[in-house]
């Protein structure tokens, strides 16, 4: 990587990151995220009644469902807005490669999520104050949570490359994230495996293995397996490749 590549990526990142904070949408999403994650933890997760100093069940368990809706809400403007404003044409006639722009934008959105997730720190303080939790599952839980958000963001990036409408991008991304989550939902997987002939069960298991959820739960249990991290990284790489294809199609 040449220094010029890095500088261009950084310039895109900087503009994109600052523009998140110029719009009220981000603040709304962060507040909803914090309210939702805490609300689920205390009301549905019943963290105070569980008598168990662990965040896995009451806290991290709900994160995938929150990201399915909120990650696309953050990422939907990524490329759709460029298409709508026409700045995409400006950007693509400047001396930078599409990859520098794709990566710069993705990292900016990723940092937004990193900050949002970091802002849930009071729940960690609470659990440490109330009990004596095992730090391992908390750390892997946070890593899993962040990777889940990144996976959803990458899918949103891909969807936004194809449309100038943020609404279309949002709906398509939510649907895709939901699909990638539900194909690994234990209840659904078991039902499908039971209704289909036994010979197809290995295929059903394989499909469920491709879901976000499968790898997420493995990680939140406190087992930091390189395989699961690699899974999320490959999802991101594939989604960004699709983003690149989408942008190329727009310039056909």
């Amino acid at each position: 990587m040449k220094s010029r590549d890095l500088e261009n990526t950084l310039a895109i990142f900087k503009r994109e990151f600052l523009s998140y904070f110029n719009s009220p949408v981000l603040y709304v999403i962060v507040v909803i995220y914090l309210l939702a994650s805490m609300g689920f933890t205390f009301f549905f997760g019943r963290i105070l009644d569980s008598d168990n100093a662990s965040l896995t069940q009451p806290f991290f368990f709900w994160h995938p469902w929150i990201y399915i809706v909120l990650a696309p809400a953050v990422g939907m403007r990524m490329w759709s807005e460029e298409h709508r404003l026409g700045t995409f044409e400006l950007l693509m006639t400047m001396p930078l490669s599409p990859w520098q722009a794709i990566i710069g934008k993705f990292i900016a959105a990723a940092l937004v999520w990193f900050i949002s997730i970091a802002l849930t720190f009071p729940v960690v303080i609470t659990i440490c104050w109330l009990g004596n939790p095992d730090p391992g599952p908390i750390m892997t839980g946070y890593a899993a949570s962040f990777l889940y958000a990144l996976g959803c963001l990458a899918v949103t990036s891909a969807a936004s490359a194809f449309t100038r409408s943020q609404v279309v991008c949002f709906i398509v991304s939510v649907a895709l994230c939901l699909l990638l989550t539900l194909i690994g939902y234990p209840g659904i997987v078991d039902t499908v495996a039971r209704t289909l002939p036994a010979s197809l069960e290995s295929i059903v298991r394989f499909v469920s293995y491709l879901s976000f959820l499968d790898h997420f739960y493995e990680m939140t249990k406190g087992i930091f397996v390189f395989r699961d991290v690699l899974y999320f990284l490959s999802v991101i790489v594939v989604a960004l490749l699709v983003t690149h294809l989408g942008l190329r199609a727009k310039r056909a």
């Binding site: 310039a11 110029n22 400006l90 693509m92």
Partner: protein, 242 residues
């Protein structure tokens, strides 16, 4: 500076640009004329590296646009049609972003910003949000972006579109002044602009070049025509004609 050869662009079954060749040297201002939908914008988008041509070659400053687009784009400044801007930025921060992508940093960057702000009469709106600008200011901000790195090649798609007569006059003067040291292509519907600012003009109709020459040569193309306007109307067909 710009060499375009046998450029062709096909969208589906529609031929937008058909076998267009031209070249522009330093110190030349080339006017691009033609009815709406004739292929002016498409040609410009190919020269700036936004669209990939179906066939043909584009060289800017001796560098092939298709082989090394990043290098070729460095010497180009481009004002797209409708002057797109990031609506959530201020004028100065937008120009700062463009300068950074053009590789300008630190003192060189702030000097470049000050220079184009002055050149395009934008000092009053320096810290104003792009969202709140009037059309003339928006246009000039995007124009400022195209000259921030003092490029050798300038490509302007309808640079005077939507401006008031004073602003039009100003932009024409700017193009003419910069044309002394740069290679410029600009498209327009206003024919008096061609006479005011161009050293050469090309008329495109339905993707093909139908006339090429200095404004005076073009006038002699049609016997009995007194103005470019008459020439234009007699050699191009209105888009209602099949």
């Amino acid at each position: 500076m710009i060499q375009v050869q046998n450029l062709r662009k096909v969208f589906g079954s529609k031929v937008a640009v058909d076998d267009v060749s031209f070249s522009v040297e330093k110190g030349q201002v080339l006017g691009f004329l033609g009815p709406n939908g004739a292929g002016k914008s498409t040609s410009m988008r190919m020269v700036t590296g936004y669209f990939r041509p179906t066939s043909g070659s584009i060289k800017v400053g001796g560098i092939d646009m298709l082989e090394d687009p990043e290098l070729a784009k460095r010497s180009i400044g481009y004002l797209p049609e409708n002057a797109p801007l990031y609506s959530d930025m201020t004028v100065a921060s937008f120009l700062g972003f463009c300068a950074e992508i053009r590789g300008l940093r630190g003192a060189a960057k702030s000097k470049a910003i000050d220079r184009v702000l002055e050149l395009c009469f934008l000092e009053n709106v320096r810290n104003q949000s792009v969202d709140t600008l009037s059309k003339g200011y928006r246009h000039r901000t995007c124009f400022a972006q195209s000259i921030i790195h003092d490029p050798e090649v300038l490509i302007l798609d309808e640079p005077t579109d939507g401006l008031d007569p004073n602003q039009k006059h100003e932009v024409r003067g700017l193009i003419k002044r910069m044309g002394e040291t740069k290679a410029i292509i600009f498209s327009t519907h206003i024919l008096e602009e061609v006479e005011a600012a161009c050293s050469r003009a090309i008329i495109i109709d339905r993707g093909k070049i139908v006339a090429d020459g200095t404004p005076d040569q073009l006038k002699k193309l049609v016997p009995g025509a007194h103005s470019l306007d008459e020439v234009f109307r007699s050699i191009t067909r209105p888009d209602t004609v099949k």
